[in-house]
């Protein structure tokens, strides 16, 4: 049995990789946890695609403002220095490559960096995409935050996604509860070469991850290990 870190620990790990001064969009769901671990003494500006830069935490009880919500339609606050804008401007920020980082959830990520996170394609399911496709192709760095394995034990890192795609070749890094994976692009090679294990959590080994994912993972973890 391999070690897994908790959602909060993973959120803390992702937050540590976001430099001061970054403009960041945290996707709906688990990625919103990352906000809880951004250092308070640093200025990192959160974007929410419904029209706010400088998003702050949830309001105090009794101070909920229905006009001030995030992309998940939850009440939020606006920090000093915040700015409001309309939807076309907001998506220009995303599509136009102005965001430094976005963190998204995933059903699957392929070795080429394809992302599937909006639909399982199940018959009868009501489709809903929101801003997922714009975020996936727009930010300078697209990070995925996910468990490595599905509830059934299948790998979410795959050779090819079978779920409907959100974006093609768009993911730069995948943070999982077992390890951190980079989608690599070998120098002049345009096509990414698959996943490289960047960092292992706990007692996980690259061999074990190869067995869990069925993928030929590149071991790039040695240089980042402390021991």
């Amino acid at each position: 049995m391999t070690t897994r870190i908790s959602r909060d620990e993973l959120a803390r790990r992702i937050a540590a990789d976001i430099p001061e001064g970054s403009y960041v969009n945290l996707g709906i769901g688990a990625p919103t946890l990352v906000a809880n671990f951004l250092p308070e003494d640093q200025e990192i500006i959160l974007h929410t695609e419904n029209g706010l830069l400088g998003m702050g935490p949830a309001p105090a009880e009794g101070r909920v403002d229905p006009d001030l919500i995030n992309a998940g339609k939850q009440p939020v606050t606006a920090l000093a220095g915040a700015a409001y804008f309309h939807h076309a401007d907001s998506f220009a920020m995303m599509r136009g490559g102005h965001l430094d980082v976005c963190v998204l959830g995933a059903f699957q990520v392929s070795e080429r960096g394809d992302l599937a996170n909006w639909s399982t394609g199940a018959p009868g399911a009501i489709p809903a995409v929101g801003g997922a496709m714009d975020l996936a192709i727009g930010a300078k760095a697209v990070y995925v935050m996910t468990d490595l394995l599905t509830k059934e034990g299948g790998s979410k890192l795959v050779a090819e996604c079978d779920y409907p795609l959100t974006g093609v070749g768009c993911v730069s890094r995948v943070y999982t509860d077992h390890a951190v994976f980079d989608v690599t692009d070998e120098g002049f090679v345009v096509t990414p070469e698959g996943f490289a294990v960047r960092e292992l959590f706990g007692d996980n080994t690259v061999e074990e991850l190869r067995a869990l994912t069925g993928l030929a993972l590149v071991d790039a973890s040695a240089s980042t290990r402390e021991d």
């Binding site: 695609e49 006009d67 801003g131």
Partner: protein
């Protein structure tokens, strides 16, 4: 003298015909022009095509328009929500058509209509099922799909304040689709909390210039804003805390 103000929401929505394409502003409940939608329902118009980011929440506003079976087709990015039971039921029963559009393409297609753009190439959705059948082009080494503008006969928008020329200021994230929708419809109808004297709006703060607006109606204050001050005391749906209907 230009005076775009009208006395009632019934006057504001007068003349919207059966079969019209209607843009409805708002993101979830924020900025949703509920009073105008109620008046549209009362007007009897039906067989509508709706353009809106979501497909209704709870049983009010857009959800009620759907529930009253006035909508044949809806273009939106995110119909499925925890409180979208009205849409869910109609969709599962095959009683409403859905065109799903990625949110940024929805906003930009509306913007393009208002800006007189014939079509544009977007990188969003490339290689996905939502781009199937669309013309694709590689520009500077990147793949794009061709997207066409979305126009409407009518836009229903909610803003905070207007003057009689139709200049609008919004409040916080309730601005969302208002400015682009206002530009993309033949007739733009706006509900506001308050109509103020010409000159009372700071020209630097006007987010929708009156040229995009045809009719304005005052519907009264949001309970969470009193004399321009945020007072809170409501839940995210705008219901007073501790009231019978307030959600848990």
């Amino acid at each position: 003298m230009i005076d775009k103000t009208v006395a009632s929401v019934a006057d504001a929505v007068a003349g919207i015909p059966h079969g019209a394409t209607v843009m409805i502003g708002g993101f979830g409940r924020a900025g949703q022009p509920v009073e105008l939608i109620d008046a549209l329902i009362d007007s009897g118009a039906g067989d509508l095509t709706i353009v809106s980011n979501n497909a209704g929440n709870g049983d009010v506003g857009l959800a009620r328009l759907l529930k009253e079976r006035r909508v044949r087709r809806i273009l939106c990015s995110f119909p499925r929500q925890h409180d979208s039971w009205v849409f869910d039921e109609l969709y599962r029963a095959g009683e409403i058509e859905l065109e799903l559009v990625p949110q940024g393409n929805l906003a930009e297609r509306i913007r393009a209509a208002g800006a007189g753009i014939g079509a544009f190439f977007s990188p969003t959705g490339v290689g996905t099922v939502l781009a199937e059948g669309k013309e694709e082009r590689v520009i500077d080494g990147r793949r794009y799909v061709l997207e066409y503008p979305i126009r409407a006969d009518v836009a229903l928008v909610s803003a905070l304040k207007a003057d009689r020329w139709g200049n609008l200021v919004y409040r916080e994230t309730a601005r969302n689709f208002g400015p682009v929708m206002a530009s993309a419809a033949t007739t733009t109808i706006v509900q506001v909390d308050e109509i103020v004297e010409l000159g009372a709006l700071d020209p630097e703060a006007v987010a929708t210039p009156g040229i995009f607006v045809d009719r304005v109606v005052a519907v009264g204050s949001r309970p969470w804003v009193v004399d321009g001050e945020f007072v809170g005391g409501v839940d995210v749906e705008g219901r007073p805390l501790g009231s019978q209907e307030a959600s848990a």
